[in-house]
Amino acid sequence: MKLTGTVSLRDLEGGIWVLEGDDGRTYEIVGGDRRLRTKGQRIQVEGEVDAGAASLAMVGPVLKVKSYRPLR
């Protein structure tokens, strides 16, 4: 699936990278490289939501990033 949104670092549990999706939901980002993790960056992600994953973040669905591209 494809998702667009803004990358953000939440000060929770020591720091959690999330994608604030344009669909209004917050996704916990798993995978992707360090460049993805840039605060305020708008990106389009190709990936899948792992509905069965538990995590220490507990901020919302887990988004496993396959690839992404920055949007301008």
Binding site: E13, V30, G52, S55, L56, V59
Partner: protein, 595 residues
């Protein structure tokens, strides 16, 4: 008849008055003891005279004040500190005394509870430990003998390969754990979250290093179920729950969530609970009204997070499965609002750091730590631990239960006080509400249809069901407290009011069964009473008792009801059923009188 009616009004007023008073007591008594560690000793004052004041002098002055002062100790003749007991009008007397030129200070005599202030240099920054009253609680228990399993990213608990034990866990006892992610026996932390959580539960304390932890004499069991990115799978979590249970853990801390409902994990939680383990889980960090799994399972304690002000932190999830609130931090005003513990640097796992975190994970660790203290103090079962946690919690906004705070804010000292008490004090407030409703019902009946007030109350067929429906057999635990097996089950039933029997039948979930918290039982009784008149006083007592119980439950907003799609439906449900019960009672009493 007018006299009877007047009597009725007086009775009603008295009953309502008592009910209101006893309701009013909940907040202040609990609040006072939790806000102020010192307690005033009734009728006692302390007066500090100018140094060198003699006994002969104050013996002469005290006649005007109507009290009998004595030196407090052999220091008296030097420092002039005296005390008096049996003082009736304390404030009045103190005003008079303070006006005397030889008096330096005069005040009520207070008892100071012993507190333990650890020498860890950053303990003063741990507002969270003071918020849950650890300095007093440490005088009661430090967790010795209890085992807490931490299901997380691991713990920096030993030196292995490039992993290093963090300095502020030195001296803490660890029992054998497991790494379910790598399937080996080295559950070292490669993230930092697990070590932080473990620190809140049992940081080395009074060691002149870093910060303090709650149950620092307890043992930790490191179980790694989350990988380096903080993610885990249900099979590992379920396996770890069973591992902890089978290897002697008393408490399981799960500062993790998400992934939705899992039958495998739910069964593991039920297994742990059956074996006497208390399972504590984070409500989640979405900030909305939905508790995450595993916290939402019936067998788990669900924890929300508050900041230094005691208000729910914006990130904390909440909801109808919520049990209790604990400090999770609120860093909006700065890092000092977070929870400070020793952990590892995420980028360099061999490096020790002290970091301020916020999250419902941190709140969860506080509850697990206190649960360990409760086991160490003698609690045997999760029921016992939960009851002490919930009854000891400080109610927020005067509510006995709410979606945001559950039973209130964690209070280690009050909860520890509740362990080892052989009798559970019966709650008479539902009975008083029922008595007030009874008077109301009798007032609405015409003189011919109405039985005498006292005739009714003193008829066992009426009174016993009324008592059973509102308070239960209040002396059962006191009389048969040590019983085991079938007798113990009978005692459990008898000591609960009938609507709460659902707790035994459906397990002690956090939500009440709405069929028991309804007019169903009195209604069914009334059907039988149509044919069998002798049953009518019994059903009347039952119905008025249920009416009182349900009204009180509605008033106290406690607890939440299961199966209802929206929590706000609980209140109308309780009120409607209470009204229904009142009508059943009225019908039963009326016909009974018409015989």
């Amino acid at each position: 008849m007018s006299i009877l009616r007047l009597n009725g009004m007086v009775l009603l007023a008295v009953a309502l008055g008592i009910a209101a008073c006893s309701r009013g007591k909940v907040g202040p008594t609990k609040g006072a003891s939790s806000d102020d560690p010192s307690a005033q000793i009734p009728g006692a004052i302390v007066v500090d005279f100018k140094d060198g004041t003699t006994k002969a002098e104050f013996d002469a002055w005290e006649k005007d004040w109507g009290i009998d002062l004595e030196f407090n100790s052999i220091e008296g003749p030097q420092d002039g500190v005296t005390i008096a007991v049996g003082v009736e009008d304390i404030e009045g007397v103190l005003t008079k005394i303070r006006a005397h030129p030889a008096v330096e200070a005069a005040e009520p005599l207070k008892r100071y509870q012993a507190t333990f202030t650890p020498n860890d240099p950053d303990f003063p920054k741990q507002w969270n430990l003071r918020q849950i009253r650890m300095p007093e609680a440490w005088e009661r228990s430090r967790g010795k003998g209890a085992v807490v399993a931490v299901l997380d990213t691991g713990i920096a608990y030993d030196d292995y390969q490039s992993f290093r034990m963090v300095p502020d866990l030195k001296g803490i006892k660890f029992v054998k754990g497991y790494n379910f992610v790598a399937d080996d026996e080295h559950p070292n932390d490669d993230h930092g979250h697990g070590t932080h959580v473990a620190g809140t539960i049992a940081q080395a304390t009074n060691n002149k290093e870093g910060v303090a932890g709650i149950a620092f004499e307890a043992a930790l069991m490191p179980l790694k179920v989350l990988d380096q990115s903080g993610m885990g799978v249900s099979a590992d979590i379920a396996d770890a729950i069973r591992f902890a249970t089978d290897h002697g853990a008393n408490v399981i801390n799960m500062s993790l969530g998400g992934g939705g409902y899992s039958r495998v994990i739910e069964r593991a939680v039920a297994y742990a609970r059956k074996k006497g383990v208390t399972v504590v889980c984070a409500a989640g960090n979405t900030g909305v009204g939905q508790v995450a799994y595993p916290a939402a399972y019936a067998g788990a304690v669900a924890v929300s997070a508050v900041g230094p002000s005691g208000k729910r932190a914006v990130y904390s999830s909440f909801g109808k499965e919520l049990d209790i609130a604990a400090p999770g931090g609120d860093k909006r005003a700065g890092p000092e609002g977070g929870i400070l513990q020793n952990t590892i640097d995420r980028r360099n796992p061999s490096q020790s750091v002290y970091e301020s975190f916020q999250g419902t994970s941190m709140a969860t660790a506080h509850v697990s730590g206190v649960a360990a203290l409760l086991y160490a103090k003698g609690a045997k079962t999760p029921d016992e631990v939960e009851q002490a946690l919930f009854d000891g919690a400080t109610p927020v906004d005067g509510k006995e239960w709410s979606e945001e705070y559950g039973h209130g804010l964690l209070n280690a000292d009050e909860s520890l006080k509740l362990i080892g008490r052989s009798t559970t004090v019966a709650d008479w407030r539902p009975f008083l509400v029922a008595a007030a409703l009874l008077v109301l019902v009798l007032l609405t009946l015409g003189a011919r249809q109405r039985p005498g007030y006292l005739n009714i109350l003193f008829s066992p067929a009426f009174f016993i069901p009324l008592l059973l429906a509102t308070v239960g057999v209040f002396f059962a635990r006191w009389a048969f407290g040590g019983a085991t097996g079938a007798v113990a089950s009978a005692v459990d039933f008898a000591s609960l009011p009938i609507p709460d029997w659902q707790r035994i039948i459906f397990g002690r979930g956090r939500l009440a069964n709405p069929l028991f918290y309804s007019a169903l039982i009195p209604l069914v009784g009334s059907i039988f009473a149509v044919g069998w008149r002798g049953l009518r006083p019994v059903v009347a007592g039952l119905a008025i008792g249920f009416a009182g119980f349900l009204s009180y439950a509605a008033w106290a907003r406690s607890p939440g009801l299961a199966y209802l799609p929206f929590n706000f439906l609980a209140l109308p449900w309780l009120i409607a059923n209470a009204v229904l019960c009142v009508f059943v009672a009225r019908a039963m009493l009326k016909k009974g009188a018409g015989r």
